[in-house]
């Protein structure tokens, strides 16, 4: 072979391999069809989920992940939706806001999903909101704060609104004649705005908020906050957080010798609360869904059948009872797949179908969505539960 020929060989090979690469792998890294509107009406239905599987939200995210996996399997065994298989893609946001954003971007840009479920907590859910709105992908969050859905066209949620939870707490406080409340809240998105809501709801009931303290979900020492709460001399205290931190805060509260009654939020609706708080949990009152007190429900409760079935399935699959958070994921899946059954995967149609959800019986309550209400639950969805001997019991006046 001549020298000149050989010299041409290498660039030619490089050019050829580039050309090959060009045609070979397609342009998946350039977004395929842009945005979510290209979601295909053929092939498997893609549902993405972004959950707090590791990090401070793991107590929430792990049961949610379990639930979704279980439900997807059940659905596909039953033949999918309209004969189309359902592909579930779960991503871990590591309990971080930017993790949630990265995962969402991937779901939208690479996986081209039809529906997104998540995140487990408010902060990451808020981080996802502008992304799914820009890409117009219907999304159902399983976190609580109303800010996730307020004024959004594309985002829904299944956890009870903080507003209705606080209504239940304040109703109970009013009935007991408390006039001064103190709040110790989660410093992240879940706890933001809570003080304002209490002040507003309290003004109608003659209740004032005398002190507010906050803690990081990763905190283990609460002495300073609880010292200030003790000094506030309120009639009762609201601890608003998720496990384990809310449980540890409860323990610190009791250790400091404060004996005022405590309300906790629906963020402690799992057994992990008892592990973190220990005996200090006794006597805590918290509004939550019916799941954790299912065995105490009357037989004519409209949710009982659904809840019992879920508990049975979940316990069989995972050897442990489901938490309320598992229930939120169940509800998101239920609402989402029902809407896909009715409207298919066209984003606009799917969103309209979710918005039209009416009287769907779920784990956390009975859902009725409207364009104005993307939460779907009323105060009826909540019961008051009392912590007693390491478990939640139905508590009514």
């Amino acid at each position: 072979m001549h020298r000149a020929q050989r010299r041409l060989l290498i660039p030619a090979a490089v050019a050829a391999s580039i050309a090959l690469a060009l045609t070979g792998c397609g342009a998946s890294n350039f977004g395929g069809d842009s945005g979510g509107d290209g979601a295909s009406e053929e092939g498997p239905i893609k549902i993405g989920a972004v959950l707090d599987i590791t990090g401070v939200g793991a107590n929430l995210g792990v049961p949610e992940q379990n639930t979704l996996n279980m439900l997807a399997e059940q659905l596909n065994e039953a033949g999918g939706i309209d004969g189309r298989e359902v592909e579930l893609i779960i991503k871990d946001n590591q309990s971080t806001e930017d993790g949630a954003a990265k995962a969402t971007t991937q779901l939208i840009e690479n996986d081209d999903v039809d529906l997104i479920i998540g995140s487990s907590r408010t902060g990451p859910s808020l981080a996802m909101r502008p992304l799914v709105e820009a890409a117009q992908v219907p999304t159902i969050s399983v976190a609580a704060n109303a800010a996730i859905v307020d004024g959004s066209e594309w985002v829904f949620k299944t956890a009870q609104n903080d507003l209705v939870v606080l209504e239940r707490i304040l109703d109970d406080a009013e009935a007991k004649g408390y006039t001064k409340l103190a709040l110790v809240r989660d410093a992240t998105g879940f706890g933001e705005g809570i003080a304002d809501i209490i002040t507003e709801l309290g003004s109608e009931r003659g209740i004032t908020l005398t002190a507010t303290e906050s803690f990081e979900p990763s905190a283990t020492d609460f002495t300073a906050q609880m010292t200030n709460i003790r000094a506030a001399d309120a009639d009762a205290v609201i601890i608003w957080g998720i496990t384990p931190s809310a449980g540890l805060a409860q323990a610190a509260y009791v250790q400091l010798g404060v004996d005022k009654p405590v309300y906790q939020s629906h963020g402690v609706a799992n057994d992990a609360f008892f592990e973190a708080a220990g005996p200090a949990a006794d006597g805590v009152i918290a509004p939550m869904g019916r799941l954790l007190v299912a065995d105490q429900l009357s037989d004519d409760d409209p949710q009982k059948a659904v809840i019992d079935q879920f508990i049975a399935d979940y316990t069989e699959s995972f050897d442990s009872a489901p938490s309320s958070f598992a229930g939120h994921a169940y509800d998101a899946w239920l609402v989402g797949t029902k809407a896909i059954e009715e409207a298919g995967t066209d984003p606009e149609a799917l969103r309209d179908a979710i918005e039209a959800t009416t009287d769907v019986v779920g784990i956390s309550g009975i859902f009725t969505m409207t364009p104005e209400n993307h939460s779907g639950l009323t105060a009826d969805a909540l019961i008051m539960a009392l912590a007693e001997g390491g478990r939640w019991t139905l508590y009514e006046e």
């Binding site: 490089v14 580039i18 690469a21 060009l22 070979g24 792998c25 342009a27 998946s28 890294n29 350039f30 977004g31 842009s34 945005g35 599987i53 590791t54 990090g55 793991a58 792990v62 590591q94 971080t96 806001e97 930017d98 993790g99 949630a100 954003a101 990265k102 971007t105 991937q106 840009e109 690479n110 408010t122 902060g123 808020l126 981080a127 909101r129 502008p130 992304l131 820009a134 410093a187 992240t188 998105g189 933001e192 990081e216």
Partner: protein, 679 residues
Amino acid sequence: MSYLNKAALRSKTGFWPNNRGTIIGVALLAVVILIVPFTASSSMMNIAVFSMIFALPAIGLSLLMGLAGQVSLGQAAFFAIGAYTHAILLQKFEMPGLVAAVGGVVAAMLAALLVGLPMLRLRGHYLALATLGLGFIVMIAVREWEFTGRTTGIYGYGRPEVFGIPIDNNGLFFWFVAPFVLLGLVLALNLTRSRAGRALSAVNDSELAAESLGVNTYALRVKVFTLSAGFAGLGGVFYAYQVQIVSPQVAEFHVSVELLLMVVIGGLGSVWGAIAGAFIVELLSEGLRDLIPAIIPGATGEVQLIGYGLVLILVIILLPGGLYQVVKTAWAAITSRIGARRADAAAPAGAAALPGGGADDGTAEAPTRAFGGLPGEGAASAPVDGTADGDAVGDGGHEASAPVPTVSVPVPAGAPILEVRGLTKRYGGVVAVDEVTLTVPAGQIMGLIGPNGAGKTTCFNMITGAIAPTSGTVSFLGSEIQGRKPHVGAEAGLTRTFQNLQVFSSTDVVGNVYMGRYRKGRAGILRGMLGLQGREQYRHEEIAREILETMQLGDVSGLAAGDLPFGRQRMMEVCRALASEPALLLLDEPMAGLSGREREMLATLLRRLRDAGLTIVLVEHDVAQVMALADTVAVLDDGVLIAHGDPESVRNDPAVIVAYLGTDAEEAEAELKELEEHA
């Protein structure tokens, strides 16, 4: 041989178009960048995107650690400041994308400048842990501040279009960020080879020596720290752009650890290594997240940390140079094999460059020939023949005709060039130097002698600024310099050598002497990064080489400085000091460790330098040498100046004799005589 030297020289002087290795490397990387979006799987693409984003702060950190020798455990702080500023400018002030991006970088640099000014006065552990503290402060501040969106952060600002193109996928974004990484790479590479870069690596070898040659260490470190933060800020801007949310997690400690890991894996101080390290760490992070739960059931959370920890430890213990070292060793092996094959055909020209290579052909022993290696150029450039009047002492024979290095003569001979008044140094209750007052006239050689522990070196250290005097003044060319850092005196023309050699071991002999030229250079960091100082550096290296030839060190100019025998290292230090064209040269025991021939040569040289107008002060143990060489002699004993005058009168001063040799003056005198004769 001279051709080979010049080629080597050019590759080091850093105007990057001259550097084939860099061009080829950058071109290859550019091609890879072009292809990757077409071939990579979507998960690989994701890794590629984030490794590009993190390569920027990693390059910055690599400059800081490699050049400035500082560990920063808070690089994430500047990354976060860049990201937050970008996001806030976009979201709250609705600035155009470009403005927000520039704002992010500027904010990071400003923050670094502000905290760097006080913090970079710290050393070692303190600086590292202060940067770590800074990282925590920034993380907590953005988490607690309403303006930065507290725990949730800033989001909902979207991605600005670039030249009208919406960047809405990984492929386009990769092409958007990659040119910046390439540009950053080239700028950083240029910087490491520039005047400032070489000064900083000299500082890492010996801060004292570098400062004594005029390097303002502190100012350079602040600049590099700020620059490094600029890289981090730019990375933060791209991160904010791509992820579309900036939350406190970007400032967290583990981000700083990841960045550190990138630099360590790549090889401390290697800019290429930082980019490779960024890719490897991203890959490792993703890979371990999948791998470890597969091996250990039930493992959740930040399991990739186990890999980080292991890699950090293993790389430091087994492979301190990182990937860069591996590649360099491999490359050297390959090229030497190829070189050997070529050398079979050609003449064995390179042999003289090998360590100890003088043995086979004897070129090392032929100074005139070595000097002739640069015919014509020597006369045209700097070395001026200061001994044109020909009154050189004749005993140097063959050196007599050689030119001496240029010196500066700011004041006429005899005028005071250095005045020391009441110089005192106390350590606790111990007085090391007590009220020394001394005037050194220009154009003379002064010997400073005294028994061990008399305070001679302490005096030197106070005069040059290495330590601050407890009281007293040092006035050089009319301005007081006591208590100032050594570079202050050095910039004015005062330089020194060291009793305990302070060799820049990371560079070769020319590189050492080149550092002597530092004070004659101009180019700063910016010019260095842009590669606009090749000509200047080339000229200075040429001069350094010529000085080495004059001092008969031309044959070893390409060797690592640490490989030279002790005596030649000492001579090299003298060359280095002379390269700065000093007005006053302080030599701390220059004769120690020299061979007889070398001593003779040095003595001749010093006389000729004196005749050219240089003022020299030398501390010396060898009393005979001093007496023979010096125009005046000062004697220190126990920190007190006990005698000062011409050699003859000092020699006969009874106090000196007692100080030197004990109580019996006559016996002492006899011994002294004997010593002198012996020498």
